[in-house]
Amino acid sequence: MIDPMANLDAGVPGSSQSDEEKDIIDFMSLRYNLEKIDRMKSVMSIASGCLAGICGLTGLQGLVCFVALHFLVLVVVWTMKMKCSLHGYTRQSWWSYSTTNLQQSGLSFTLFWTLFYGLVYLY
């Protein structure tokens, strides 16, 4: 089984030198890592939506909760699983790491936020 967050550079030795700006990486590991990150973002958005709804956050408070939890999870993954090396595990910039699938996460968050707010405070 592939080690979770497999280091992409471990595939080919000497891949840190880029010949003619080309990068040799292990595509299977890259795809696996990106899928795992996607999954984590989905779970996080649903869980934070439930949390915001149960706590009764409204308006801007809910948005702040979503953004804060989103970045918290990303930073925790970056420190603990990627050993502070974003480039080694996903060939992404910080911007795309933070904002990929943000819209889908946001919509899931809104759905579960609305649902749990209604269940707790309206019914």
Binding site: D19, K22, I24, R39, L122, Y123
Partner: protein, 302 residues
């Protein structure tokens, strides 16, 4: 800003509308996914050219990808030198094969080969999936407007401007002073529809390992997974694929480092580290077949 008190709603609405609608949408999404899987047509046999090209590309991918883990340096070097030549030879074979096919086709009076006929059907498969989704959407919307109109369903936890009132409070036109946050059933439907996409990514996820392995097995047998547009390759596609072979050959020559080193070099030293035995000659210089000094040194070594 002062928080107004929330309107308390009838719990029957929660029990009979909110939660059932949520469950129905989840079930409908899963049903759509599984029906799509069941109704998928059988895989088609690819053309000879496609088969050859795919197997060549697969071999190159293995070499680029993980070959350093299980091949020694000398084998990697020899592959690195041989593969570009092999790819180019494959490209020439494919071109000759295509030329022969064209010549044979002309001889037979230009019959349409099988590639032409199934084309309209293969492109429709993708559309049919979308059509099913749209039809289901419209039916659900009509059903909801028929059965669940005329009452407040939920309150969205954020403020909306008055412009949204007309959209989100269908069937509640009489209540002009109602806050825009209180929405009717149709907006709950839209919220669920958009919000469940992320949920389905978790529930259904990426294609299961089984399907991936099945696809790989099909590719080895030369069949192609169905449902991809352009699987029936015309002449132009074949030329493009042959160009791809040439490109792969060029890439191999450029990409791989000049010293294609294997991970298996020095692997004994890395594994044993300090326990790596130091070199000691057990045979004396003048000995030929007699190892009379082995008995003495054996105990020292261990």
């Amino acid at each position: 800003m002062s928080t107004a008190e929330n309107i308390l709603l009838d719990s029957d609405i929660r029990d009979w509308v909110v939660l059932p609608l949520f469950v129905i949408m989840v079930a409908a999404g899963l049903l759509r996914f599984h029906m799509g899987n069941v109704l998928k047509p059988d895989p088609k046999q690819g053309t000879k050219v496609t088969q050859r090209i795919q197997s060549s590309v697969r071999a190159v991918a293995i070499l680029k990808g993980g070959a350093v883990h299980f091949l020694s340096t000398s084998k990697l070097e020899s592959r690195k030198l041989a593969y570009p030549k092999l790819l180019r030879a494959q490209a020439i074979w494919c071109e000759n094969h295509l030329d022969e096919q064209d010549a044979a086709g002309e001889k037979n009076g230009g019959e349409n080969d099988d590639g032409d006929m199934p084309n309209p059907f293969s492109s429709m498969e993708g559309m049919m999936g979308n059509m099913a989704f749209m039809v289901q959407n419209m039916i659900m919307m009509q059903a909801i407007q028929h059965f669940f109109s005329g009452f407040i369903l939920l309150k969205v936890p954020f403020r909306l401007t008055l412009g949204f009132k007309q959209m989100f409070q269908r069937g509640l036109e009489g209540l002009a002073t109602l806050e825009t946050s209180y929405v009717s059933s149709i907006s709950w439907y839209f919220l669920v529809m958009f919000g469940l996409r992320g949920f389905f990514k978790l529930a259904i996820g990426s294609p299961a390992l089984e399907t991936q392995e099945t696809h790989q097995a099909w590719q080895k047998l030369g069949k192609q997974p169905p449902g991809r547009p352009g699987t029936t390759a015309g002449a132009a596609d074949d030329d493009k694929q042959i160009e791809m072979l040439e490109q792969e050959a060029d890439n191999l020559e450029m990409l791989l480092p000049t010293q294609f080193k294997s991970n298996l070099d020095q692997v004994e030293k890395r594994l044993l580290q300090n326990n790596y035995p130091k070199k000691k000659s057990t045979i004396a210089k003048n000995d030929f077949l007699l190892h009379h000094s082995v008995g003495k040194n054996k105990s020292k070594k261990n």
